[in-house]
Symmetry: C2
Amino acid sequence: MSDLKFSVVGDSTSATQFIAKTRQFSLVVDEPEALGGTDEGANPVEYILAGFAGCANVVGHLVAKELGFKIKRLKIEVSGELNPDRFLGTATKERAGFKSINLNLIPETDASIEVLTKWLQIVEDRCPVNDNLQQVTPIKLSVEKEYTAI
Amino acid sequence: MSDLKFSVVGDSTSATQFIAKTRQFSLVVDEPEALGGTDEGANPVEYILAGFAGCANVVGHLVAKELGFKIKRLKIEVSGELNPDRFLGTATKERAGFKSINLNLIPETDASIEVLTKWLQIVEDRCPVNDNLQQVTPIKLSVEKEYTAI
């Protein structure tokens, strides 16, 4: 299949709040009050964890079908630890983002633990979000001064 | 500051749909019909782009304040290209996730382009989501068979 392009465009509605538009969806990103925000939406790194869990769900079901077992229910827990010092501008050797992320899949299924272990390995290999978090991805940031000065 | 822990937990509501809960928020992740879903929410990789844009918004405002200029409006565009073959299980050498991501910041401000170029470099260094996408992050995936077989 050829490459697919995904995109988001949006406007800042405050120093912490952003309305991200993608296709017909509007997603509100904010920060909790403890991080200076108005807490009207999940924060950026929570979006990353939600996307990761959503990705594991899709790939998990796809691979279960290929391996020939049914998932009756699937609970997913994902968490990550992050030191906010670099983000906040404090002098630090800490990295800015999550130091580590744990994702736990809890399927209700009659597949054996051996099959589930194989399933997990395939999910890990094929989940796009897992790839982008585990591996290096080239990112180009740019700034465009569209508006004229006052 | 000490480390912060962020977490998401949720249940699959179909083979493509997942309700991600984080604090008081419920986020619906789905896939478009072209990728086998019911299109009731943005898809996992769109969540990643939304989180990235939301992160750039927060850090962008924080750093502008430190550098002493005002952002009157801020538009952010972010896009990424992904080949779906590995995700779909087709034999391929393509990686699963985004091959590249572009993020473009379009501030309405009277700061000079020189100041904005410095601003962009600091945003890149301090944005947690940028760090997790650009650099390697240790991820632990696990499976837990909580439910008994039928």
